[in-house]
């Protein structure tokens, strides 16, 4: 159904927004050395109790009342892709605290969809002004972090650190 894993991430992230999260963190770890791709979506939304979670994972059900097809699809889709690509799929959730969805896959598995446009996924989720959307990306050589709330509170005329240091230095002198 999705030809990019970043679309799965968007879909799972939309569940977090629906759960009223104020922090939504997406972690992507791409390790060629270990041949793993790990995707995680963690939120501090309303969470689910154990019974609800078990039911949802067992029957792919949705708590959306007005759904025509009364099955949830988002979690089931990502689980299917993970398992097809030699990986695992876990959901941990605590009512009132939040939810963490973790999926892994073999990076080199022939059926693994590409990550695709992760930037567009983050931009789309970050359009919600009340949510701090965070991306932590890592591969074998590099890391990248993005926090949407940082962008929101960024002041262009911040005193650079070096300036402050030299001010201290001149005071000390």
């Amino acid at each position: 159904m999705f030809d990019e894993l970043s679309l799965n991430l968007l879909d799972i992230g939309m569940n977090s927004l629906a759960a009223g999260a104020s922090v939504l963190r997406i972690v992507v770890i791409e390790s060629h050395r270990r041949d793993w791709l790990i995707l995680q979506v963690r939120d501090n939304g309303c969470g689910m109790d154990d019974a609800t979670l078990q039911r949802i994972l067992a029957e792919n059900s949705s708590t959306k009342a007005n759904r025509k097809k009364s099955i949830g699809l988002g979690l089931a889709l990502l689980r299917q892709t993970s398992e097809m690509c030699g990986g695992t799929f876990h959901v941990r959730s605590t009512p009132g605290k939040g939810t963490t969805v973790t999926a892994s896959m073999r990076l080199t598995h022939i059926d693994r969809p590409p990550l695709g446009d992760l930037t567009a996924t983050i931009e789309t989720l970050a359009a919600s002004p009340t949510v701090d959307v965070q991306l932590h990306y890592r591969n074998d050589n590099q890391t990248f972090h993005f926090h949407s709330q940082e962008a929101k509170h960024h002041e262009p005329s911040r005193t650079p650190k070096t300036k402050r240091k030299s001010a201290e230095a001149s005071r000390a002198a």
Binding site: M1, F2, L7, L10, D11, M14, L17, A18, V28, E30, K64, N66, R67, K68, L73, G74, L77, L115, D117, L118, T119, A120, T121, I122, E123, T124, L125, A126, A127, S128, P129, L135, Y137, N139, Q142, F144, F146, S148, A151, K152, H154
Partner: protein, 122 residues
């Protein structure tokens, strides 16, 4: 994954924040449930954000929402004007999204042949 592409996120986020303050004349709500995403809603969203930024339309904000009950005609957006007028557009793609920005959002002229519904909320 191309890190240079991710770096652009930071610049873009800054610009979009600058466009975000205050009460807006238009709010665009993009349906971003599973069926919307599968039909191309992210592409529509991205095109709108880019186009709004390019034109410097400071009086428009864009939001996402879950399913809005039009699963069969996704991607769907609703354009809400501050005076209560709401226009729903369906079966969109990037090109149609650009047209909606150019005509409806930039020049107050709804794109009649793409609209599937229009109502006035008090």
């Amino acid at each position: 994954m191309n890190l240079a592409e991710l770096q652009k996120l930071k610049e873009k986020a800054q610009k979009q924040v600058a466009l975000r303050e205050g009460n807006k004349k238009y709010r665009v709500v993009v349906s971003m449930g599973t069926s919307g995403i599968a039909a191309g809603a992210r592409d529509v969203m991205k095109t709108m954000l880019d186009e709004i930024e390019k034109r410097g339309l400071a009086d428009v904000e864009v939001r996402v929402t879950g399913e809005i009950g039009l699963e069969d005609v996704e991607p769907v957006i609703r354009v809400e004007r501050a005076d209560g007028e709401q226009t729903t557009y369906a079966r969109l793609d990037a090109e149609k999204a650009r047209k909606i920005v150019a005509e409806h959002l930039a020049h107050d002229t709804p794109v009649e042949n793409l609209a599937v519904g229009k109502e006035k909320k008090p």
